[in-house]
């Protein structure tokens, strides 16, 4: 499947048109309150050009630059998570009927969706969410339906944000799996590579030109440039130091003083999957609706057991988040739960930095 073509700048809209002909709604980068997010787009013209994101702990700004590239930004506010593991998912409805209750499953038919602009860390996170929601004896039907109707057009990052550390987690910046099409954006156009059968079919219908040697050399140099990152986790497997730090609360106090227990980190983390189920009834009580909502380990209710909140303090909550993500995931899913996207760093209102905290803990327990 090593098929590639070169698509000139001016023909970018063709990708859009082919996707729409194939029945997909197209989702891609859009500006919202000063950040890029994935949103439904009407045409290729909806994609902003020349935008670059500046990210730092608790900080995100867009900068308009003087070029026509569409994918020079690095991170969207959310990854693919809200499109698959949706924030509010109706599960079932129970109605009172003669002689008992009737339970009705809620099943939607998702719209086939193509997402343009996905990065390597997004795909790595998607693979982890797939693992959680689809593997095992009880795959989640809601997630599965959306997952099966998804097509992914990925982009190789040609720069990194200051908050990125995917090189250290092994998840980027180059797309190596999971996409139907992979783009490298040059000033003159796009190097388009097929990553699946569906991708190859799309590619065949694009007005592509042959790939030249210089296209490849230029793309390779740009991909290399993205590997320069300012942050790196001390190791891919931090079970040793994190388990060693677990019981001495002095390790967790410095971060707990700053942590707002607001749960923004977990909400933007593309691999976090925690949720709760709320029961809702209309005023007349004629039925009961079960709705699954995003939840996080920073909420009291999340650890409410037999009348007690087990993880009440910020120390306990932050410890749960970090230890689960970077250590316990290895036992559950054979790898860490972090793909180095840096979202938890950028979107933490007080700028708590997961890499800095991991480094500090490693230092304090004397290992790395």
């Amino acid at each position: 499947m090593d098929q590639s073509v070169f698509l000139p700048q001016g023909d970018f809209g063709q990708i859009f048109e082919r996707l729409r002909e194939a029945g997909y709604r197209v989702v891609g980068p859009a500006e919202q309150e000063g950040a890029l997010t994935y949103d439904v787009l009407e045409s290729a013209d909806d994609i902003p050009v020349g935008l670059v994101d500046r990210q730092a702990p608790g900080h995100y700004r867009l900068e308009q630059q003087n070029h026509r590239r569409r994918f020079d930004w690095v991170g969207t506010a959310q990854g693919l998570k809200p499109w698959l593991f949706v924030a509010e998912q109706p599960l079932w409805v129970a109605r009172e009927v003669e002689g008992g209750l009737r339970f009705e499953e809620v099943r939607e038919t998702p719209v086939p969706t193509a997402v343009i602009g996905v990065r390597a860390c997004d795909l790595a996170a998607l693979a982890l969410q797939d693992r959680h929601f689809l593997d095992g004896d009880y795959p989640d039907p809601h997630y599965r339906a959306r997952r099966e109707s998804l097509l992914l057009v990925a982009v190789n990052c040609h720069r990194s944000a200051d908050t990125c550390f995917c090189v250290s987690t092994g998840d980027g910046p180059e797309v190596t799996f999971g996409a139907d099409l992979v783009l490298d954006e040059l000033d003159q156009g796009y190097l388009v590579k097929a990553g699946s059968e569906r991708g190859a079919e799309l590619l065949a219908r694009l007005p592509g030109r042959p790939v030249r040697g210089w296209h490849k050399r230029r793309a390779k140099a740009l991909r290399k440039q993205a590997r320069t990152q300012q942050r790196a986790l001390p190791s891919r497997d931090l079970r040793g130091p994190l388990y060693a730090a677990r019981d001495d609360m002095r390790h967790w106090q410095p971060v707990a003083e700053r942590c707002l227990t607001c749960g923004n980190c977990a909400a933007v983390c593309p691999t976090c999957f925690c949720h709760r189920v709320d029961e809702e009834s209309p005023l007349d009580g004629s039925l009961s609706r079960a709705v699954r909502r995003w939840d996080t380990c920073f909420n009291d209710e999340h650890s409410y057991l037999v009348g007690h909140v087990v993880r009440k303090s910020a120390e306990h909550k932050y410890r749960q988040w970090l230890t689960h993500k970077l250590a316990i995931w290895h036992d559950q899913y054979d790898r860490s739960g972090c793909t180095g996207c840096g979202r938890c760093i950028t979107w933490c209102p007080v700028g708590i930095d997961i890499v800095e905290e991991a480094e500090r803990l490693c230092r304090e327990v004397g290992e790395s």
Binding site: Q32, E33, G34, A35, T37, G58, H59, Y60, R61, A77, Q78, P82, A87, E88, E257, R258, C259, L260, T261, C262, G263, N264, A267, V268, D278, E279, E280, S281, P282, L283, D284, G285, R293, W294, D295, T296, N299, D300, E301, K312, S313, A314, T346, W347, P349, V350, G351
Partner: protein, 263 residues
């Protein structure tokens, strides 16, 4: 047949929370079928002395008359549900508790002789036992419906204590504190509004009061660090729910000493 009787009372308040009943739309008709509404002046029913199963009380206690009335309401009601920021925390008028309200009155009214106010604005729970508090400025219709439904079934309603940030993220908002350095208090405010202000790009104003575990020290330090003047940070914390202790502490920490303010 009505399953319960209710009353909607008003103390010192703007009537916004009572209006939530009137704005329930079709559910107002359903409510009228389910319960007997005994007293609700804004809806034209004046029967203050009625004994009821559930009394919804809007407003804070700021006058001797409020004091007398809330004691009577408590006596005549099985459940007392405080509704809104005023009833739950003293409301915006609790600003008088932290500043010189006598001086303010003098500045506003030509003649203060006819004013009969208490020195402080107090939440209902400081005078009588409150069975349930519904937060918000105003309360949310969704939570009101859930509460009535739960009480009719004889169970406590499930009301959130999590932070506005959680609703904000579920709503798909971009955080305005991060992208615009807006002084959002969502991280220390109880959820319930559905992150209304951030959904329109505005920072949160603490309408639903303090969330569980409000870390106002850290948030305030961050806002000051973003370059927002200390006095503005202090004042953000004491607006709608100024009577709450965590917010008052934050105000005390960042306000410019009173002496400097007056000069």
């Amino acid at each position: 047949m009505a399953q319960a009787s209710i009353a909607v009372h008003k103390l010192t308040s703007c009537s916004g929370c009572q209006s939530v009943f009137l704005n329930l739309g079709d559910d107002l008709l359903v409510l009228n079928e389910l319960v007997e509404i005994s007293h609700f002046i804004e809806a034209g029913l004046n029967n203050f002395d009625a004994e009821v199963d559930i009394a919804f009380v809007e407003g804070s206690i700021t006058t001797p008359d409020d004091e007398a009335r809330i004691l009577k309401v408590r006596e005549r009601s099985r459940f007392v549900v405080a509704i809104g920021a005023c009833a739950c925390s003293g409301g915006v008028q609790a600003l008088r508790n932290v500043k010189d309200s006598v001086g303010w009155a003098g500045a506003v009214y030509a003649d203060t002789e006819y004013l009969d106010s208490l020195a402080e604005s107090r939440p209902v729970a400081q005078l009588v036992k409150v069975d349930l508090e519904l937060w918000g400025c105003p309360i949310s219709g969704r939570q009101l419906i859930a509460t009535v439904r739960a009480l009719l079934q004889g169970v406590p309603p499930v009301l959130p204590t999590e932070k506005v940030c959680q609703e904000c993220k579920r709503a798909g908002n971009v955080c305005v504190l991060v992208t615009k350095a807006a002084p959002c208090l969502g991280p220390v405010t109880r959820a319930g509004c559905g992150a209304l202000c951030p959904s329109f790009g505005a920072p949160c104003y603490t309408c639903f009061g303090a969330s569980e575990q409000p870390n106002c020290d850290s948030l305030g330090e961050r806002l000051v660090g973003l370059g927002i003047p200390q006095r503005q940070v202090a004042e953000r914390f004491v607006s709608i729910s100024s009577g709450l202790e965590p917010y008052q502490k934050a105000w005390a920490r960042w306000r410019i000493p009173a002496k400097q303010l007056d000069s």
